[in-house]
């Protein structure tokens, strides 16, 4: 093994560790450090006083063994190595005997809350914030993705086959390929996926078997949002046969930005991206667990490009958990933001003038968790960093900071996850 091999091996460590290291450093509680420092000063002063009664100021040593401030009170507190650990033992379960929540509620993990990137839009009215929960219930279900069958070719085919038949196609004449992580030295192994290609469609399971993606070989025009439900039902009635009262739920509307080829610097706004799901309004479970039942639509620029057929068999109930009210969540958000702003970041995403511009309650599953947890998704006004200023000036878009906060109180998160807060 060479140093280069070691460098590359470090590059392959668990991505949850990489996401975790994005947060600010773990810090000592200031009062705790101050207490140690004060005790040390008193001790040194006593000794110094005894031995150097005629000298001036005490010598000041920089604190070499650790940082001296705490960003938030929920960070794990690391005690100096010379003292005994004071971390209390962790109970086997969360309050009420419920399983601990682990992982995180942002795209990068983030524990019980954190920054989930910027949202670019021409205005709040362009965004379709979820309205499924007008009144927050007292409890909500947390779901867990079952263990998949990654690599089990026959199992994958058995899931895909009925949908090929449903859409009037014959799997026997289809091209079936098995995909594995590329041999490129830059790739990560994505496991094995089976893809079934017919003249009209391409069927492919996602990696944890929670949905079947069906891509159209030839996208079909379905017009504006008001036509999506009727248009898709007319084109693919088979997919909605089991529904008593099909309804559509549209979310999203955020944009990205790109730079023009002319100068490679001037920014332009990309198309607004909406995601839509057709569900059975007569089935409460189908309505409120968006990922659990129904058919997601992939529509871009008025063209239906594909479906995501959700596969509820691959979810199990973790438990019914209490959830914060919207007001409680907002109070928790402000406390987090205050702690963040007190941290003195050089290029902060928000500043003291931030305001909450929007909020929705949605289910979210992070990349390092198999859980689907109810989450408050807040949109805050963004500080004018160089990036934000340029986007605004070049595109005319508004820029918001998306901050997610677990609707399930932190007490139900495992202590290792509860204290994690992705940097804003």
């Amino acid at each position: 093994m060479t140093e280069r091999d070691l460098f590359l091996s470090i590059g392959d460590v668990d991505e949850s560790l990489i996401a975790w290291a994005e947060r600010p450093p773990v810090r000592h509680a200031p009062w705790k450090w101050a207490a140690v420092a004060v005790a040390a000063v008193i001790l040194v002063a006593g000794i110094w006083g005894v031995t150097h009664r005629t000298s001036g100021d005490l010598p000041v040593e920089p604190p070499d063994s650790g940082p001296i401030s705490l960003l938030t009170s929920t960070y794990p507190i690391i005690t100096p190595t010379t003292t005994a650990p004071t971390t209390p033992p962790v109970a086997d379960t969360a309050p009420g005997g419920l399983p601990w929540l682990t992982g995180g509620v942002t795209a990068n993990g983030g524990g019980a809350g954190g920054h989930n990137g910027y949202v670019f839009t021409y205005g709040l009215e362009e965004l379709a914030l979820s309205t499924l929960w007008q009144d927050t219930p007292d409890t909500m279900t947390v779901w867990r993705v079952s263990d998949g069958y990654n690599g089990d070719y026959e199992k994958q085919l058995s899931i895909i086959r009925p949908y090929v038949t449903l859409l009037g196609e014959d799997i026997n004449g289809a091209e079936i390929t098995t995909l594995q992580g590329t041999d490129s030295p830059y790739s990560v192994d994505s496991g094995r996926l089976t893809r079934v290609i017919t003249p009209r469609h391409c069927y492919e399971l996602n990696s944890d078997y929670t949905y079947l993606a069906i891509r159209l070989q030839q996208p079909v025009a379905v017009g504006g949002q008001e036509n999506w439900l009727a248009g898709v039902q007319a084109l693919y009635p088979e997919l909605f046969w089991g529904m008593t009262d099909p309804a559509i739920h549209i979310t999203g509307g955020d944009r990205g930005w790109g730079t023009t080829e002319a100068d490679g610097d001037t920014m332009f706004a990309t198309e607004a991206y909406y995601s839509a799901r057709i569900y059975d309004a007569a089935d409460p479970e189908g309505a409120y667990a968006p990922f659990l039942k129904g058919v997601g639509l992939h529509i871009s620029e008025g063209l239906l490009k594909g479906f995501y057929v959700y596969l509820p068999d691959y979810y199990e109930t973790l438990g019914e958990y209490p959830v914060l009210s919207r007001q409680e969540a907002e109070e928790a958000l402000h406390a987090r933001c205050a702690a963040y702003l007190a941290g003195g970041y050089p290029d902060p995403a928000i500043d003291e003038t931030y305001r909450v511009m929007g909020v929705e309650l949605v289910y979210f599953g992070s990349s390092n968790s198999r859980l689907r947890v109810p989450v408050y998704r807040f949109l805050l006004t963004a500080a004018d960093t160089p990036l934000v200023t340029k986007v605004k000036e070049d595109t005319g878009m508004q820029v918001f900071v998306e901050v997610c906060l677990s609707a399930v109180p932190e007490a139900y998160w495992h202590p290792e996850a509860a204290g994690v807060w992705s940097p804003i």
């Binding site: 140093e3 091996s9 560790l17 975790w20 773990v26 063994s65 795209a107 994505s190 790109g258």
Partner: protein, 184 residues
């Protein structure tokens, strides 16, 4: 834009994927490449290579975390570029980082005795045994390629203190890899 959407754009062969990836993770890729190479132009070229490599690899790859995936591409591409440079042009943190990691493997290893994947797993296990503070420090230095100056500022301690802690961590990693049979 969420990772899942960006990955979806890659799968659809929609070139908007590259712009979306640039918007979300361009700064991270440039930062890693710049820290390793110490040259802004090289860092920008590395960043473009990252998107090309991602375009070629997705599909079939379906990364769960684009941050980790693109960051890793940036590390690897920057290291390749560092290797191709003449000795006189070599700048940035890459030389220092490799030198530091060289201390860990100084006396050789058990060649081919274990798969690279096992080494990765052992490093992960080692990091999980470290205190949260030390784990953070190690990952920031050897994954994100943060400079000593940056780390000392973020930890609010002196550079020499950071160096000392990293040195002790490397010693512990070396001992751990020896115990597990990776190193002689």
């Amino acid at each position: 834009m969420e990772d899942v959407r960006i990955v979806s754009l890659f799968w659809e062969r929609d070139e908007g994927a590259i712009e979306a990836a640039r918007a979300e993770y361009g700064a991270l890729c440039r930062k890693i490449a710049f820290d390793l190479l110490g040259d802004r132009e090289d860092a920008l070229e590395c960043e473009n290579d990252v998107y090309l490599a991602a375009w070629n690899a997705i599909p079939p790859a379906r990364p769960q975390s684009l941050r980790a995936y693109l960051g890793k591409l940036a590390r690897n591409i920057a290291l390749n570029r560092y290797d191709r440079r003449t000795a006189a042009k070599r700048g940035g943190e890459a030389a220092v980082l490799l030198s530091e990691l060289g201390e860990v493997v100084a006396d050789g290893s058990v060649e081919d005795a274990l798969e690279a994947g096992q080494t990765v797993a052992l490093i992960g296990a080692f990091l999980r045994r470290e205190s949260a503070e030390n784990r953070w420090l190690f990952l920031r230095r050897y994954w994100y390629a943060d400079s000593l100056a940056d780390l000392s500022a973020r930890l609010r301690c002196s550079e020499s203190a950071v160096k000392t802690r990293l040195f002790r961590q490397r010693e512990r990693l070396r001992a751990y890899l020896q115990k597990e049979g990776i190193l002689l």
